[in-house]
Symmetry: C2
Amino acid sequence: MKIEIIKGGVTAARGFRAACCAAGIKYQGRTDMAMLYSDAPCAVAGTFTANVVKAAPVVWDRRIVQDVKTAQAVVVNAGIANAATGAAGMAMCEQTAAFAAKALGVPAEYVLLGSTGVIGPNLPIDRITGGVAAMVPALSDSLEAGTAASRAIMTTDTVNKECAVTFELPAADGQGAVVVRLGGMSKGSGMIHPNMCTMLGYITTDCAIDQALLQQALSDVVSDTFNMISVDGDTSTNDTLLVLANGMAGNRPVAAGSDEYRTFREALFTVCRALAIMMAGDGEGATHLMEMRVVNADTKEHARMLARSVVGSSLVKAMVFGKDANCGRVLCALGYAGVDFDPAVIELYLVGERETLCFYRDGCVQAFDEDKALEILSERAVRFRCDMAMGDEEATAWGCDLTYDYVKINGDYRS
Amino acid sequence: MKIEIIKGGVTAARGFRAACCAAGIKYQGRTDMAMLYSDAPCAVAGTFTANVVKAAPVVWDRRIVQDVKTAQAVVVNAGIANAATGAAGMAMCEQTAAFAAKALGVPAEYVLLGSTGVIGPNLPIDRITGGVAAMVPALSDSLEAGTAASRAIMTTDTVNKECAVTFELPAADGQGAVVVRLGGMSKGSGMIHPNMCTMLGYITTDCAIDQALLQQALSDVVSDTFNMISVDGDTSTNDTLLVLANGMAGNRPVAAGSDEYRTFREALFTVCRALAIMMAGDGEGATHLMEMRVVNADTKEHARMLARSVVGSSLVKAMVFGKDANCGRVLCALGYAGVDFDPAVIELYLVGERETLCFYRDGCVQAFDEDKALEILSERAVRFRCDMAMGDEEATAWGCDLTYDYVKINGDYRS
């Protein structure tokens, strides 16, 4: 089960093409639409926002994942979320999918949609269809096309996010192994919270795997990756994570419970985890990635709740920004996570690249070297570890610090 | 049932005295300790933090409320929280109470304690006892003494918080009515979240009411007052709200289920609500009070969850700071409150002093006059109302905006 990280993103896997364009939806002077296309129809799995208020493209995509179970293209725009747009918003989805389907020569029900941006306004449908018309002839299977697509879907993101891996699986014809590739891109910066997957994420693979198993692998992996990051506690109306598998690697179709399934799941985990950490570290205005690892918890779910509570705490986030070793705040956030534990036995550490400091033990905050703490808190990734001394389950959550820039970005987002 | 607001706070009711002093615990050049004392033993009720990690004075006070049920004095310090201090922290409580008890001539188990400030360090016990020794001879029943006490317990608060009311109840001797007074003070600015009461709150009354009924009234009232405010989503280790009733008004003891009980409950509600709103509006760095009123919900608890979700949203808070009418964020925060509803039927309003704008209706964000929205968002209190169209329950939550100053204050709190 050797998973290797390779260059690339959504076009790393065989048979996937990408394109992007500057459709002028809201932003000027940058690309703001992306398209993905597979040479063959794909099994498609997805997870979506748990928000009661769901954007039109979320409603559209869920129907495809649940009923159609097959897809061949994705059209994404940045700038306007097509959320809280009522019947008009759904009509935009139908028009966009129909237009793209005709241009690509695929059924409209194979066209997935994604939108991110401000809630409320209607999409300028002419610019959307204009964008689709421009992208179809530009579709390319180059790695650069995938990277350009990952840039086109950014909103307040400061860096594009992509990752790809390769691994081997037994060939379909029984003659040795074939190389399988899996890659993805995502965007997300504000409105990120572990209650669901995340903003927009698209993963493509040439692995042959049936739709039910693909969905199972995705649902499994999301709990420990996209659902473990938090930027600001707000769960968006548009969160969407999709995986498309076109089977072009020529592997023997992955069977449930097999070693091959575990390998595939590990590859998917690797890419989802990398994308999730990139999103947490690129939280709006962030200057630090924050990692909270909880070990020796009594249950997996408790470990997750404890870890998420810390990375979601505004006070911990502000303290990380200020490089202030105010460890009582970490302890406090563990205390209100909704998990019962004995404060007298847990131990809390600040984990640096070279050194680890014990913050809290035996029911008391410990004395520590303030200079060393400042040094560790000055690292780009600030890591805490808590030993619950209750069992052997663990979980890790990722977030970022709370900064002046977060307030600035979100105090005037629409303008 | 006429409740009248009067001047004063903890010394408004008969038989209550207050004092404060500058003990130099952490702050310099200001008062940082307060003492309350009642001429007669009091029935005492309280609510405390739900955080698993409880500060030593919380453990101390809970035991008094649950087992002793009587109290006569309160000693509070600002600057150090006496939390995460283990056995040493409990020993500090015992020493402080014993010292104060001796100086006041009351049992040590009648002395309640409160601490607020940084988590971790031990209290400087000499300064604490020195402060107690200085305050005992200074105890005064003047309104000014109550106000000075409300100032001494402030940490990052920018204004002191006190409120008092008066009402009439039948006299104990059956000869007409007597005047009853109830007043309180509170402090709290950061680490405030509706999961429990709030930081520190002390309410005194000369009403004659037994302890069980006093506790019932407090628990009732807290759900719609202190538990409905949020500054930053962090539930402190020290949250404490206490009510002391010394019976000196000479009323016929309040009976369960009576009109008198309803009057008392209303008076307590009035003071708790006023203190809660003052705390929300004085959130760390706040420039606006935010109010979210949810009407026509299917259940009271759902109304509360929806209202709290909005005032707790970082994105809504940043938008209020920026006076940006980005109503999609309010809708989004309603959507992830954990309450199921139909986004097609709810209506969302921005409620100004002179005008009300409809933000969202019929499943769509509505067009509105941006200038008028900016005018309303420039008011000190920014009010939203959401009609759920599901039933007839309602609830209101209060919070504040998220500002640069919140980040500044919390990025470097210990220094």
